[in-house]
Symmetry: D2
Subunit: 139 residues, 4 copies
């Protein structure tokens, strides 16, 4: 499950009057890929929340915008697990544009730090072993 990539199509909703994808919307694409990464590892966040009171929250993001994504582009978004700790984990992520007639182009890179929180108290709680182990295999 290395090299996990999630496809994203760019619609009008994602773009702005500059003719490119609006800078905040890359964070949506990055999160879709993380959500699908967790799903591929066997975890549904709504069930996690209901069963264990755990939610994942973003603590920090660092995003580089290298080339603009455009309306109708087909993108691939990666989500690689890094720095797995007791109550936090980092994802290294990239957005690449795919065109059938040319090389893939790297459009953006991000490092996203996630913490594991108790839904009631919003304080950090330990990531359950079952999740940690599968994430670990991914590092």
């Amino acid at each position: 499950m290395k090299n996990f990539q999630w496809p994203v199509r760019v619609y009008y909703e994602d773009t702005d009057a500059g003719g490119v994808v609006y800078y905040a919307n890359y964070l949506k694409f990055y999160e879709r890929a993380r959500t699908e990464r967790l799903r591929a590892l066997g975890f549904e966040q709504d069930r996690l929340r209901r069963d264990t009171g755990l939610v994942f929250a973003v603590r920090s993001v660092q995003v580089d915008y290298l080339r603009p994504a455009l309306f109708n582009d087909e993108l691939l978004v990666s989500a690689e697990v890094r720095n797995l700790k007791r109550a936090s984990v980092e994802f290294n992520q990239e957005i690449t544009r795919c065109r059938f007639d040319s090389e893939p182009e790297l459009l953006s890179r991000a490092v996203v730090r996630i913490v594991s929180l108790d839904i009631e108290t919003f304080t950090p709680i330990t990531i359950p072993d079952a999740i940690r182990e599968r994430m670990n295999d991914d590092c």
Copy 2:
């Protein structure tokens, strides 16, 4: 409190690659005006929810798009109460563009039907008398 209008500035976040405000985002502007209309009547939706378990949900919208709103435009959004019933209310709304050197232009019109729901069961509940009375003065 007739003729309530709420000012909205158009930012890049609101526009799309067509160079105009994205059609779904007019619904955000319409909701900001309804929220501020309720606040002007003396009601805070977070307190309502906490104290009485009541949330307002949209049951239907009918929106006409007459002229496009553009980046940097200054808009005025109205929110007039209509058809107040036991567990629902309609808002008649308009979005107008203001330019200091010309007449106001009507850009969009909407009718939005809101229902009053119990936050736990998602079933309709009676709008509290205190709210109903102040809304009634507004009709």
Copy 3:
């Protein structure tokens, strides 16, 4: 190509603090399905715009919200062509929730009227015959 349906997964970006999909975001889902419907008919909107100066703009929407869509839901969005005219077309659309262990549930219905505009003048222009014909087969 009757019964065209486009799958949409609900992510956190689509929801609001009421715990359900935010009412404006249904319009994003509806538009994704229309875009994919046109693509399935053989038309790419960026190429249309570049080659013929034509853009499709929404003139009106009528949306009913019947049941709320939730985080992680898998939805199907339909986009049926109706009332094809010289410079406008209507889409009848529905959003249905699919769960492997139960019947599909209808969550929302919409009628969306689209006009065909000249990108420079924002005035109506005739929908090209090639598009009209394939849409016609769809009615």
Copy 4:
């Protein structure tokens, strides 16, 4: 014009099913404050674009999320100019929550690097002297 702050009210559109402001939407708040900062310095981005072919694009962001913003919160967003260069500038930004009955709380911090681009070629161009000078006074 030190200590520039722009007020932002949190609406349902900004929140997610976690009950807090969605992490991508902080970037919208940060951009509103930068746009208003430029306006306060005397520059309208639509006019800049029309008259000089210049657009500002985000090259990188670094955001820390310290405490969640909630529905109905009143926020203040700062936008301080830093590291003004020939074709780029950095903004140091903060989001603070204001409550009339308590101390302001710092919710988020960001460093946003902006580049000045030619709208046609998307290549860097020198920030005009008039803008540079007024930004300089701000550093």
